[in-house]
């Protein structure tokens, strides 16, 4: 199987994601240039972290207009797997592939630190290698990660099992303190109703090597591999 990492001007976690997918996870990985229209037959499109187009406007607001994004939209519509990390998540929100929006962090500062997140739904193609309730240690690094959506949307995504990750403390409790950026309902990761598109603010590529403090992020990449390479072994969701 093959991963494609999109390069926007201003993407800056593209090389990190590429390194982890190819050298650590060990799968074919290619860069996808934002000006092209070619998805190079990848199985998973990854929108990496960064400051696409400088993010001088709303984060991700310009990147959604990149030529390649037309293909990504179509790919997602056809059930292709799309993973948005940090800025990639923000772009997915701007694209409308995921509901809601990002506000500034509640303390109005950029936050880079390890946090804990809890797997809320393990019957997804992004978490099937983990277990519901499992706590992952994983870094965040963002200014606009304070997830917001109207209450009815929150109710919908909760009801549909679309909330994939929530910020929690080391023991898995959902507390205000653990919800460092102030996200509604402590939402850290969210998937589409069809379950093939997911965005999350934390950086799994930064938590994929023991030397760097955690390997928990690998669960997401390994889940995707499991889903695609062993199609159908575990029931898809929701």
């Amino acid at each position: 199987m093959k991963f494609g990492v999109v390069m926007f001007p201003g993407s800056n976690c593209d090389h990190d994601t590429f390194h982890v997918l190819r050298d650590i996870i060990g799968r074919d990985t290619v860069f996808l240039w934002h000006k092209n229209h070619d998805l190079q037959d990848v199985d998973v499109v990854v929108l990496p972290g960064g400051f696409s187009y400088g993010d001088y406007l709303r984060s991700g607001a310009i990147a959604r207009f990149s030529p390649l994004m037309q293909e990504v939209r179509a790919f997602a519509k056809n059930g292709g797997h799309v993973l948005g990390i940090c800025n990639g998540f923000q772009i997915l929100l701007e694209l409308g592939l995921l509901p809601g929006a990002m506000l500034r962090n509640k303390n109005l500062k950029f936050l880079c630190q390890f946090v804990h997140i809890r797997i809320e739904n393990d019957r997804t193609d992004f978490t099937r290698a983990g277990k519901k309730g499992q706590i992952l240690k994983i870094p965040i690094a963002h200014f606009d990660g304070n997830y917001y959506a109207p209450n009815e949307v929150i109710n919908d995504i909760r009801g549909n099992g679309q909330v994939v990750f929530r910020y929690c403390d080391a023991d898995g409790r959902l507390t205000d303190e653990a919800n460092v950026n102030g996200s509604m309902d402590s939402i850290a990761g969210l998937m589409s109703a069809k379950g093939n598109v997911m965005g999350l603010m934390p950086h799994p590529e930064r938590a994929s090597e023991a030397l760097l403090g955690s390997e928990d992020g690998q669960i997401i990449f390994r889940s995707l591999i499991e889903a695609i390479e062993n199609k159908g072994r575990k029931s898809r969701c929701p």
Partner: protein
């Protein structure tokens, strides 16, 4: 049509003698644009007029040196075909006038110095100095500077992995922002700032030129008054997105054989890059300013040549490769315009609207800037401040301990560094807060360690000693993580060099750095001098900041500062001495900046470091942390805070010296290490073999930090209380009231 009169000369920061020597060097009266070119290139900032004679005394050679001082950055060979490119630079003046943009462009500027040499920047560290946070203006400056560093570094995607911050009244109107950057390059793909080959095209790449930053270099070469508002337009505005594109485009161009040389347009912009690139090879250059991409209308040649607009580079390309170079920049949506060519004869000729507006020899501009041995005199105040009054022993050591832990200079800096993306590029092995930043090198067992150190309180009381200690402490920090130092860059922040007292401080400090670097056998490959850090006539404390880079052969062996497990033996390497001068303790508890700074025996220091390194390389140690600001007590507290579960310790000291000096004195050449009980004997034996004083002072464990002096308990503080004092000090000053 000469418009040059005495006033013009003075306004350009030149003396009349300097003007006469310009006239004789170029054989004519300069016009205003030519005068401006000399004024920036002969400014203190670019020309190092007052410092050059002393900087020559620094050791610059060593077995790893690929490039010493004189280029955009220093380069060291780290083996396996790789080289590190690194440098530190100040952005003090701009950061006072406009904290956010001043600091942001400080980051942008130093990063260009790194990638212009063909290296991908992989780390930024900052050394910052502010006035006390009790003054809201200082809070605003610090908040602005930190956001500026974050705003630029986070966006361009280079991790800010460490650094240091200290507070002192003298920085209230003159904060220091020193930014260090390091990049990794392939040894055979290094590029230099040179233009050669008659007819080779000169390309302008990157952002368009505007009127921002005109006279930035000259601004950094004069004192400030209170009224600096009008200087705000001198500060450049940073665009990290543009620089990210520039970085990627430059590295892509450098990956194949398309260009001869490249230089960033930093201080003095187009002036500096054209003249320096030509002067390095003895070539000349012709450029046409009408071809320079401009974002404002009606700019004069003077303004275009002096603009310090950010995110620009000058490239000397191979004649036949111009189209390829331009295609790469077009891919990254950047301008790449041929604005001139390399010539013979060593002259810079500039055309504007069909007229020749500049015709001067580049050698005179770049290489013949006068060097001064300015008068130097030991400051009279030193005699007064070196005497310490009677210091009463504290009644309650626990209280003093907490007070020192919550002093902003000592307290936890997480509030700052979590605003910086310090993990991007997935190399950061030790997060900020360790003795040194540690980055792995992908695909290798090797790692890099780096640290910035400087103690202006010692340097104020004795500049030579302060500088020696700064070098020693930086190397000690490296030794604590298991890294051997390989090279140095320095940022020398001082007052007005025209004051003999400041010149004396500078001379002494450079002498101290030189002595220490020779002892540790590490070359100084470059750096930056920032003079004129005076506001309203008062100079800052002399503040030499050392950036030292080291290598770790096996990342698996690197050691952290925190206690590892209960029952480990705590061993002190080095000696406790009866020294209080220049300590944080005296400042916090008595408001005193007095006394004689700690003594330092460089040979003994080196033995301690070598022994610590050997112990780490042999896998004997569980942790290592150096004793510095705040003394042994603060060191032990930090070991406890950095342990996973806030492990306490119990210490017994037998020294017959004042208890406050024992706990809070800042005697040098000390490291607190821990090891399993089983291996304590090996560590002590190794110390003996290496002629290092070492002794068992206690055990890890419990929930308290307990210190007994000659069996009498004088400190007992729960780790969680000490942690709270240390952790909450800085955030509490920025708390938004709800």
């Amino acid at each position: 049509m000469s418009m040059i009169n005495e006033r013009t000369i003075k306004d350009h920061g030149l003396s009349l003698e300097e003007y006469s020597s310009i006239v004789s060097l170029i054989g004519k009266e300069p016009n205003i644009t030519e005068l401006a070119i000399f004024s920036v290139m002969w400014s203190e900032h670019c020309g190092y007029k007052s410092s050059r004679v002393y900087l020559k005394g620094l050791p610059a050679k060593g077995k790893y040196v690929i490039q010493g001082p004189g280029e955009n950055a220093g380069i060291l060979d780290i083996g396996d075909g790789l080289a590190v490119v690194f440098k530190i630079e100040s952005h003090n003046h701009p950061s006072f006038i406009e904290p956010y943009q001043g600091a942001a462009t400080g980051v942008g500027g130093i990063l260009r110095d790194i990638f212009t040499m063909g290296a991908r920047p992989i780390a930024v560290l900052d050394s910052l100095r502010f006035g006390p946070l009790e003054d809201p203006r200082n809070k605003v400056i610090m908040e602005g500077v930190v956001s500026g560093i974050a705003g630029y570094g986070n966006s361009i995607g280079i991790p800010t992995v460490g650094g240091e911050i200290a507070f002192e009244e003298g920085y209230s109107l003159n904060p220091l922002v020193n930014v260090f950057a390091l990049g990794l390059a392939e040894k055979d793909k290094i590029f230099y700032a040179r233009a050669e080959g008659k007819g080779n095209p000169v390309l302008y790449v990157g952002a368009k030129t505007g009127r921002d930053g005109i006279h930035g270099a000259t601004m950094a070469s004069a004192e400030f008054g209170r009224d600096t508002e009008h200087k705000r337009p001198n500060v450049q505005v940073g665009d990290p997105f543009k620089e990210k594109l520039l970085l990627e485009a430059c590295l892509e161009v450098m990956s194949s054989d398309m260009i001869v040389g490249i230089q960033d347009m930093g201080a003095a912009g187009l002036t500096c890059s054209t003249t320096e690139m030509a002067a390095r090879t003895g070539a000349g250059m012709e450029i046409d300013l009408d071809l320079v991409p401009q974002r404002e209308e009606g700019m004069t040649p003077y303004e275009i040549m002096l603009s310090e607009s950010q995110e620009r580079m000058l490239i000397c390309a191979r004649k036949e490769k111009v189209a390829e170079v331009q295609a790469v920049f077009a891919k990254w949506d950047l301008d790449a315009v041929v604005i001139g060519q390399v010539t013979e004869g060593g002259r810079l000729k500039v055309r504007f609207k069909g007229n020749e507006v500049v015709d001067i020899p580049v050698d005179a501009v770049v290489n013949l800037c006068p060097a001064y041995r300015r008068p130097a005199r030991e400051p009279a105040f030193l005699r007064k401040v070196s005497r310490l009054p009677e210091i009463p022993l504290p009644a309650d050591f626990n209280e003093v301990f907490s007070k020192i832990l919550s002093s902003p200079s000592i307290a936890d800096k997480e509030w700052v560094f979590r605003q910086y993306d310090h993990m991007i590029q997935v190399n950061t092995v030790f997060l900020p807060g360790a003795d040194a930043a540690v980055l792995r090198i992908k695909g290798s067992k090797k790692a890099l360690a780096m640290t910035l150190d400087g103690n202006s309180f010692y340097a104020y009381l004795n500049p030579r000693q302060g500088a020696r200690i700064a070098v020693a402490e930086a190397c000690r920090n490296l030794a604590c993580v298991g890294a051997r130092p390989i090279g140095v860059t320095n940022c020398l922040n001082f007052g007005n060099p025209e004051k003999p007292e400041v010149m004396w401080q500078f001379k002494e400090a450079v002498g101290g750095i030189s002595e220490a670097c020779r002892t540790f056998e590490i070359p100084v490959t470059g750096g930056n001098v920032s003079f004129y850090n005076d506001t309203e006539g008062a100079s800052i404390h002399p503040t030499p900041v050392l950036g030292i880079v080291g290598t770790i052969e096996d990342i698996g062996r690197a050691v952290r500062p925190g206690f590892r497990k209960t029952g480990d033996a705590i061993i002190l390497l080095g000696e406790n001495k009866d020294e209080l001068g220049g300590s944080e303790y005296l400042r916090i508890c008595f408001g005193l900046q007095k006394g004689i700074p700690p003594e330092i025996d460089l040979a003994a220091e080196k033995r301690v470091q070598e022994m610590c390194l050997e112990a780490i390389e042999k896998g004997l140690l569980s942790s290592a942390h150096d004793v510095s600001d705040g003394g042994l007590a603060v060191c032990l507290a930090e070991c406890a805070f950095h342990s996973g579960e806030r492990l306490g310790c119990s210490i017994d000291l037998g020294d017959r010296i004042r208890a406050d000096a024992l706990l809070f004195g800042e005697s040098q050449s000390r490291i607190v290490v821990t090891t399993s009980s089983r291996r304590a004997g090996d560590v002590l034996a190794l110390a003996q073999k290496r002629k290092v004083k070492a002794r068992l002072i206690g055990r890890t464990g419990g929930r308290d930090i307990v210190v007994r002096v000659r069996r009498r308990e004088i400190v007992r503080i729960p780790v969680k209380d000490a942690f709270k004092a240390w952790k909450e000090s800085i955030p509490s000053r920025y708390k938004i009231k709800e």
